[in-house]
């Protein structure tokens, strides 16, 4: 270190300046940590200490130093090592309450240096320099808070923009469905009704009954299609209510089977139900009904005449496993991943020309997600499909 000789007069002036100025707190102790000097900074910040510090030990004058294990830095200084204590780790050396605390900042925030005091190469005590950085820390805290708020706002904006994008895709899809899938079956129905009315007198009673039954059948399919669309649109709405209750799953399966009895009979498809025990499921009953209706409706729709559909449910550990398996046409491997993506779905006619929107499985996925469950599709082209839904027993 290069030393520049300092004239006596300058030394005295410097000494006076250190004592009088109050930008930094200065504590000088002897080698036993008895306080020799506190500068004017203490007069301003801790007047009651300033008037009675003489002949007091530092650790008695500021007991908090020892309580917070900061005395180790004084012991280190007495072995000749200078120590820098940052506010980031210690907050402060000397406890001075703030007149106006800011959030969790209740005391002056300080950086300090605790160094050995040498005289002719011999350690004769310690010197501490304290810098009050409270204003800076409060400013940083305010800034950090603002930065966090801005980050939050940015994240929200990104989320809203993603939601808007998703809503746009959903709206486009809905328009496409309305334009194509809803309008599509309407004309054949109208055409069929025109023929029945025009040729009413030429039909035998049997032909008339068959035509009306066919009309009714198509109308039921059409109604289911509209209902699906409405269900899905409802689920997309903000504020949509999930209304869980505990109900007997067996009953719901039986109700759905009854609804599809006619369709299945018409295609000579057998529906087998395999539920070994009474299973109580906690969830939104209407949604689970919609789920079952879609799964069974799809299974019948995509199974050729003479095939079979099996609905099974069982409890496994903490989960309820519901599956609908058919011996139908199956789903090509490359299409399985696209079944649950709104932008990728497309309607496929059933084995008997049944219409659909392609929304069925998407609705099923959304229902299962709302129940904190999982949906899995196992399928092989030409061999059939098994759709397995897993629900936690207790979702509440």
């Amino acid at each position: 270190m290069l030393y520049v000789p300092v004239p006596e007069k300058i030394r005295n002036v410097l000494g006076e300046w250190v004592l009088e100025q109050s930008y930094f707190g200065i504590i000088v102790t002897d080698e036993e940590l008895n306080v020799i000097l506190l500068n004017n900074w203490f007069k301003e910040n801790l007047p009651h200490i300033f008037t009675r510090y003489k002949d007091k030990n530092l650790l008695d004058l500021f007991p908090n130093i020892k309580e917070r294990k900061l005395d180790q830095y004084y012991l280190s200084a007495l072995t000749g090592k200078p120590n820098f204590l940052s506010q980031a780790f210690h907050h402060y050396l000397i406890e001075i309450p703030l007149l106006s605390p800011y959030e969790n900042i209740k005391f002056h925030q300080q950086n300090c240096e605790i160094s050995p005091l040498f005289d002719k190469g011999k350690i004769i005590g310690t010197i501490t320099r304290i810098e009050n950085i409270t204003d800076r820390i409060i400013r940083e805290s305010v800034l950090r808070k603002k930065i966090d708020e801005l980050k939050d706002a940015e994240q929200k904006l990104v989320k809203y923009s993603e939601e808007l994008l998703e809503a746009n895709i959903a709206r486009d899809k809905m328009l496409s469905i309305l334009a194509h899938d809803l309008k599509g079956p309407f004309y054949p129905l109208k055409g069929m009704l025109d023929i029945i009315i025009e040729d009413y007198n030429s039909f035998s009673d049997k032909e008339l009954e068959d035509n009306l039954k066919e009309f009714q059948n198509r109308l039921i399919g059409y109604y289911a299609l509209v209902e699906n669309l409405l269900n899905w649109a409802t689920m997309q709405r903000k504020g949509f209510k999930f209304n869980p209750t505990t109900f007997l799953l067996n009953e719901l399966i039986e109700n759905v089977r009854t609804i599809f009895h006619l369709n299945a009979t018409k295609k000579n498809i057998s529906i087998n139900v395999s539920v070994a025990e009474d299973i109580f499921l906690t969830g939104d009953k209407d949604m689970i009904f919609t789920l079952l209706r879609n799964l069974l409706g799809n299974a019948i729709k995509f199974t050729s005449k003479g095939g079979s559909v099996k609905i099974s449910a069982q409890v496994q550990n903490e989960n309820i496993i519901l599956s609908v398996e058919d011996t139908g046409i199956g789903i090509p491997k490359e299409k399985i991943d696209k079944l649950f993506k709104l932008s990728e779905i497309s309607s496929v006619n059933g084995t008997d020309g049944e219409k659909g929107t392609g929304l069925g499985l998407l609705i099923c996925k959304e229902i299962v997600d709302l129940h904190k469950g999982k949906i899995n599709v196992i399928s092989e082209s030409g061999k059939g499909t098994n759709i397995i839904c897993q629900f936690p027993k207790d979702i509440l």
């Binding site: 290069l2 090592k81 120590n83 820098f84 940052s86 980031a88 780790f89 240096e113 160094s115 190469g121």
Partner: protein
Amino acid sequence: MILSKEQKDSISELINISFSKSAASLSELTGHRVLLSVPEVEIHPISDLQKVLEKYVGGEISTVHQIFNGAIAGDALLILNKKSAISLAELLTGNSFSESEAFNTTVREVIVEVGNILLNACLGMFGNLLKVQFSFSVPSLHLESLDGMLQTIVFDKQELQYALIVFMEFRLRDSSVKGYLVIVLGVTSLDRFLKEVEVLG
């Protein structure tokens, strides 16, 4: 000057003992377990220091610098590159500091205190081993290029100077940050140090 394997092992062991105390101090300060890797040491003439360090640090670097005086004199430096300094401050304080606020005052103060702890430990070990007392300056932080930093090292041009480089790694919260301790010593002090090390070995 090339260190023999035994000398390297002995110096590494000595620094490792100092570091284990430093790691404990850092753990106590931060409330997180801080580990310091077993250091590797090399000795190079001061004239080669830039060439050696360039392999590890570049661009703007942060250096905690302490000058020591007495029976032996020299410079002790903790060198971190900019990214490592910010990462270390983030890991130790739990706050995140974006690039734009890199080297804000809090980051600087954290690095100064960490450097102070490590350099004190290392220099303390030197003093104990050589049975000499020397005074250290208060640590100061410099942000500059490697070249600029090396210009700040004040050394006695009358004597050949050597740099003892300690390669170290801080490990905490599943992350690690690399740093470099450099202690610049005159050939006489270094020779004395190595003799003491050999006695220990």
